[in-house]
Symmetry: C2
Subunit: 365 residues, 2 copies
């Protein structure tokens, strides 16, 4: 086996925290072993802490981040339900497609890519939808939207709309407060700011969402009633549903322990400082940032490919000569934007300087 070392500075996966790698390779436990159940319980508690929620039903789903989106809609959409989706990038667009597969009447509120979600426009789209969905940190554009403002506006309208937030690129990098923000349904991935390999989708579901869930969702694997009976247990103990991905859970547990030990404000500050330095450095190189000023994610920076550079060739040279992976753009920006992530263990000044130096060399600047 030839091992290849990469600095994973694209939109994810990021290089895992060393603690996460150790957790992944630790001796395997059975999925019903009391020692594993303790790890699972601690993982769910850690997810509550980083998400800022008391939701009892907070757990890692057994799939990659996208399965969180699937579970969100599978457990809440009844055919004909109106779902308003704020679209300001690829993942908002994907939410429209997934919701539609469950029979939702999707009301799509399109925004220019690179701009944050406009709360007033989302509210004006429908007076009383079953669900309003938005992406907190758009992985395709590097933009942060104000989920707290969206939640506050929805509450002020006193409808019983559920608020769904995609937190794939924010969880573990940005400070969050699901309960204070009024988010009912949230999902994330492990391979971004949580600093774990891809393979789990952290998921959180409020009591309000639980009361209005689809009792027999079309997807057995993602049936929250059955999943809850294993994760939360009941009078008869833990009911077997499916074999939990024990190594991945142990890895997430180790990363969450690392993150909460470091302290959530310090972790967020580390992401902020690294991203700020990167964005400043890119500007100093004469490059133009893509995301709207004031709404830029520090953990994921988007920058326009300069006119004299070939996007793919630059990425290939970074990979071949420096072992650095950065990402292409998404959708229509595939060859005109780069995405550079400083997430999880990579949210460090040395990583920022590394990618700036390599990019300067390859671009000849």
């Amino acid at each position: 086996m030839t091992l290849i070392q990469r600095a994973l500075l694209g939109p994810g996966p990021s290089n895992p925290y060393p603690e996460a790698t150790a957790g992944l390779a630790a001796p395997l436990l059975g999925h019903l072993d009391p020692a594993f159940i303790r790890i699972l319980d601690r993982t769910c508690a850690g997810l509550r802490e980083v998400w800022g929620t008391d939701n009892a039903l907070t757990l890692p789903l057994s799939g990659t981040g996208s399965i969180g989106m699937e579970a969100a809609f599978a457990n809440t959409v009844r055919a004909g339900d109106t779902v308003v989706v704020a679209v300001n990038g690829l993942f908002g667009a994907r939410m429209c497609e997934v919701a539609a597969r469950y029979g939702a009447q999707v009301v799509r509120v399109d925004h220019p890519w690179g701009e944050p979600v406009d709360v007033e426009r989302v509210l004006a789209a429908h007076p009383a939808p079953a669900i309003v969905a938005a992406v907190h940190a758009e992985t395709s554009t590097g933009v942060r939207s104000d989920i707290a403002a969206l939640g506050a506006a929805l509450r002020a309208r006193s409808s019983d709309t559920l608020l769904l937030a995609d937190c794939v690129t924010s969880l573990g990098g940005s400070e969050m407060a699901l309960d204070a923000w009024g988010v009912d349904i949230a999902y994330a991935g492990t391979q971004k700011c949580l600093g774990v390999a891809p393979g789990l989708a952290p998921f959180s579901f409020s009591e309000r969402a639980w009361q209005r869930r689809v009792e027999v969702p079309p997807v057995w694997y993602l049936d929250l009633g059955l999943l809850g009976a294993y994760v939360r247990g009941g009078p008869g103990g833990r009911a077997y549903h499916h074999t939990a991905p024990v190594a991945m859970v142990a890895s997430l547990d180790a990363a969450l322990t690392r993150i909460t030990s470091e302290g959530l404000p310090l972790v967020a500050e580390r992401h902020r400082a690294a991203g700020l330095r990167l964005q400043e450095g890119l500007t100093d190189l004469g490059l133009e940032l893509f995301a709207a000023e004031g709404h830029r994610l520090p953990q994921l920076t988007t920058v326009r490919v300069p006119a004299d550079a070939d996007s793919a060739k630059v990425r290939e040279r970074l990979l071949a000569e420096y072992g650095i992976e950065i990402g292409a753009g998404a959708g229509e920006y595939a060859s005109t934007v780069w995405r550079i992530g400083l997430m999880g263990d990579n949210a460090r000044l040395d990583r920022a300087e590394l990618v700036l130096a390599a990019l300067a060399r390859v671009l000849g600047r």
Copy 2:
């Protein structure tokens, strides 16, 4: 982090091959990195080899074994389709539930638990179902059914019924020949005889099944059209669908390389010899095997709990005093049967002797 070492001799997960653990902890690659694409391609080729198939659409799905069952029905069942399910244990029963969620008219053919599937009864259940589904190796009972005979009988009837086989506990432990047997849809898990942590569902889909697939399945995450565009690629290269669980795939690749290097007949013989010794030793201890003679899986042995023993207490003592996990029974046999697995790296004579010796001590025999 306190590390706990277990001999995982229940129905799964089993202890991974050392190669699989090394693959899991190897430096992480991006999911679009050419170096990872090579690993993914080799993994798909390795799955074809252990499964005995040329199916182009053979891939590891991004979830645990149960997601294979979900994908099988999500991509093939149209509302009202007749699906005949042979039920001789828990996983046959689960197939009925999953198929029904996709709108199938399920014709359930029940067998006594512990007995293999009766081909004649399954054929007699319906003259021309869309799908016939059966479990090759029932994890709940330790019984092997003759999928080759089922496939031959279906072909002899010259209907265009698709044959679906659950191979969760057989793949990597039993010699298999999907194509020769006439299996159209197959899925497995990594945590049994493949000797990898749980987290992936190997999946294989024949050209015949592809021609008759549901083009827009209800589950976006498991849409084989979209998954195929990433795994197989197309004129425009690999189309991003979701971030592959790269560490788990690298681990499966390492295990498959180990298995195919050892040689499939030798691996099957290792499982056979270890299981035979275990079953002989259990009988020598005066215990009664549960699965019908002639249809016993060597990799997963079921044995009746003797009248003078408390099932849970014995399992607790094995875990606490010897670090050995064995499984309870399933369903109505939860407290009257034990399940002992010698799968993957545990398919060894020393593991058989270990569990026999510990069980003899705890039972005072």
